[in-house]
């Protein structure tokens, strides 16, 4: 069996290896993703929310409930890499470790590796790997740093936003722009005071401001300590799934993602091409010195490069 076949066959070791390969990038990663592209399609749930909102603990409980609706579940949990050392402590998994021995659950911790936006650069490729391996549900847990987690919305079919009382009143909720992120809203730690009030506020804000007029996100109260609200979250996700399938939004999302893939590959190729033709590593210092010695400016340099480049490309052709 070839390596990609083993992944498709569901071999755990190969799936895990495959994710490492796409995390490392390069030609090996391109080849693998090429083999596995369009193999399978999973439903993708993004789970986001501030640190300490209890995302991992909630996913831990959701897994059991989702098992009734999906055959195989993969969880990709993203934690931040240290900007100084590049290392990372991947701590989400600890809270889901009770599923380590479950045959239908695959858990993978990923470091953000310098990527901002709440997920790692390789998360969407890791999704392709587990999709190809037949996981019909993929749950992506974001870093959870707050406002800039827009990437997850593009990536997922349903985004679940988890809030907790104590993080912010109404104004903070509005300010943070998170209203744009979620399709299912969860107020977790409902055993803590202030949760009811937060839920009411969020409901009101959604009613007034939500971008989509034909779908109003539900707001669900949950508690990991008391194991409540879990079924409701799953139901809400399935509802939303139903909604996007009925309205063809799922197809739009897929189109968007393919477009994104093409764009990224294109950008990378153009970048590589330019770097190669401009002999960037050798020239950059020269350019800087030209500017420092006041012989040129960045604008002049670019204009010159642009003119030369057009000549180069013509030659190439």
């Amino acid at each position: 069996m070839t390596f990609p076949d083993k992944i498709v066959d569901g071999d755990i070791r190969s799936i895990a290896r495959g994710i490492s390969i796409v995390e490392s990038g390069g030609i090996e990663s391109d080849n693998l993703l090429n083999e596995l592209y369009n193999r399978n399609c999973s439903y993708i749930i993004g789970v986001t929310g501030p640190p300490g909102a209890g995302k991992s603990s909630l996913i831990n409980l959701l897994i059991d409930e989702f098992k009734h609706h999906f055959r195989k579940i993969a969880i990709l949990a993203v934690d931040p890499s240290s900007p100084f050392t590049g290392g990372a402590l991947l701590g989400d998994r600890i809270r889901m470790q009770q599923h380590a021995m479950s045959e239908s659950v695959f858990i993978r911790s990923m470091a953000s590796r310098g990527h901002i936006g709440g997920i790692s650069g390789a998360t969407k490729d890791a999704i392709k790997i587990v999709s190809a391996a037949g996981y019909d549900l993929v749950i992506v847990e974001t870093v959870g740093v707050g406002q800039s987690e827009i990437d997850i919305v593009k990536l997922s079919d349903t985004t679940v936003l988890i809030l907790v009382p104590g993080y912010g009143d109404e104004i903070q909720v509005m300010k943070s722009g998170i209203m744009e992120i979620g399709e299912v809203f969860v107020v977790n730690k409902s055993d803590k005071s202030g949760s009811e009030k937060l839920a009411t506020t969020v409901k009101w804000l959604l009613k007034e401001n939500y971008r989509n007029k034909s779908y109003l996100p539900p707001v669900i109260l949950s508690s990991v300590t008391n194991n409540t609200g879990i079924e409701d979250i799953v139901k809400a996700v399935l509802n939303h799934k139903n909604y996007i399938e009925k309205n063809g939004i799922d197809r739009d999302k897929i189109q968007e993602r393919i477009k994104d893939d093409i764009n990224i590959l294109l950008e990378r190729k153009i970048n590589e091409f330019i770097q190669h033709h401009l002999k960037y590593p050798e020239n950059i210092e020269k350019w800087v010195n030209l500017v420092i010695s006041k012989k040129s400016t960045p604008y002049e340099i670019i204009r010159e490069i642009k003119d030369n480049m057009i000549l180069d490309i013509r030659e190439d052709i």
Binding site: G52, S57, L89, G91, I94, R95, T225
Partner: protein, 554 residues
Amino acid sequence: MDKRIIKSEKEKWDKNTVGPFIQKTPERKNLKDSSNESIERLYSPLDHNEDDYITKSNFPGQYPYTRGVYPTMYRGRYWTMRQYAGFGTAEESNERYRYLLTQGQTGLSVAFDLPTQIGYDSDDPISEGEVGKVGVAIDSLDDMEILFKNIPLDKVSTSMTINSTAVILLAMYIAVAEKQGVSPDKITGTIQNDILKEYIARGTYIFPPKPSMRLITNIFEFCSKNCPRWNTISISGYHIREAGSSAIQEIAFTIADGIAYCKAAVNAGLDIDDFAGRLSFFFNSHNDLLEEVAKFRAARRMWAKIMKEEFKAKKSKSMKLRFHTQTAGSTLTAQQSDNNIIRVAIQTLAAVLGGTQSLHTNSRDEALALPSEDSVRIALRTQQIVAFESGVSNTIDPLAGSYYIESLTDRIEKGAFEYLEKIEKMGGVVAAIEAGFIQKEMQNSAYEYQMEIESNDKIIVGVNKFKIEEPPIKGLLKVDMSIQKKQCERLKKVKERRDNIKVDNILKKLEQEANGNINLMPTIIDAVKSYTTIGEISNILRKVFGEYKENIVL
């Protein structure tokens, strides 16, 4: 003398005497205590106000007990020398206990293996490899009867390091005593029974906080009526310190736990003065002798204040912080392990100068294995030499009045009260544990400490300086690999011999009671008397109470 004069003289000394001197011979850098606070070059009357003597120190045996909980301290009776021991089967441990008693030890201290501590029988798959390792394996009353064979329970006081399953082991102890003809009101000793520090530092929890607190208050209530001489809890900072906390954190988090237990019991309808006198504490004695002495003094003063002012205790006994001490296991080194004897001696001095009620001294080889008999004897002798030869126990609280000790006592008290305030704001210690706050604070201290050793900023003799090549140590204690098999066979026989219908009925009754609000102690005593096992009882309680999930912070 006028403080202003002292102040101006000190300034002169700094400028004229110290200044030129350190220009030629500079001082060592980074002189800090365990809380990372810089230690001053010199302490003087400027750092200590003697006018507060009566309110802050007072005389021993008087509020706030800073100088000691008893009026004569060691001039009357030495501290109890109590070596924690237990390994392998009940027979082996029983032999060790009887040896220690003949060597002049004055109390027993039982170590249980991890399956016993976490409520699994020896034949549970999860117990694999752990049976009889860190302590003695107990499955049923049968083992407990062997453990205390020929040890008169009306004469010996016994301390049991047991927490999640404390209710079961105490029930067994009561049952064994009854079989010896000793009634519950005659037994003396302590169960650790401190679940909160298990969540914080030690890790042998089973149930979530709420039902765990219920079991603890069940014990408080039962013992206040039936075992008046039994210490129902040993609120432990020892493991918090071992996990890497500072001295301030050790007493702050321990006292925070103590407050939580008192609140739980008061909420359950108990009167503070009915149980507070049976609360005892358990602290660590670390290497920084002076800081440790100040820590013990600060802890006594804090507890007295809290009991009097916050809980409105009336009996003086309720306000007295009585504590057991163990020397710091984490300071023992595997390298040049005989050096550990000296470390333990210093830590012993700290505990005695700090006014401990009982003491366990660690053995030199504990960084390598469970202690051998020779090593345990040296550890006990260390206490005996401090007691009988050193002279430090001839007067009470001899370091009091030292400018440094007094100002450090104040500073530790202040730092610890600041933590208590923070914890209170978070909603109490359980909320602070669930939020990971306490663990995070401790881990940061632990990490800093370790990095100081890594960078040689902190010297550990024989580890990062004064190293030698040395051959492996001989004569370490080895726990027999076949012990699990032996223990399982014994368990099987017990299960064949007992009345299994009776066991089933009691377990059903226990399940019902656990679902309600009734005190579980009497039924658990009945259960152990019918040789129901620890695993069986714990599993029923797991079913009703659920299991605790740790909030791990990294």
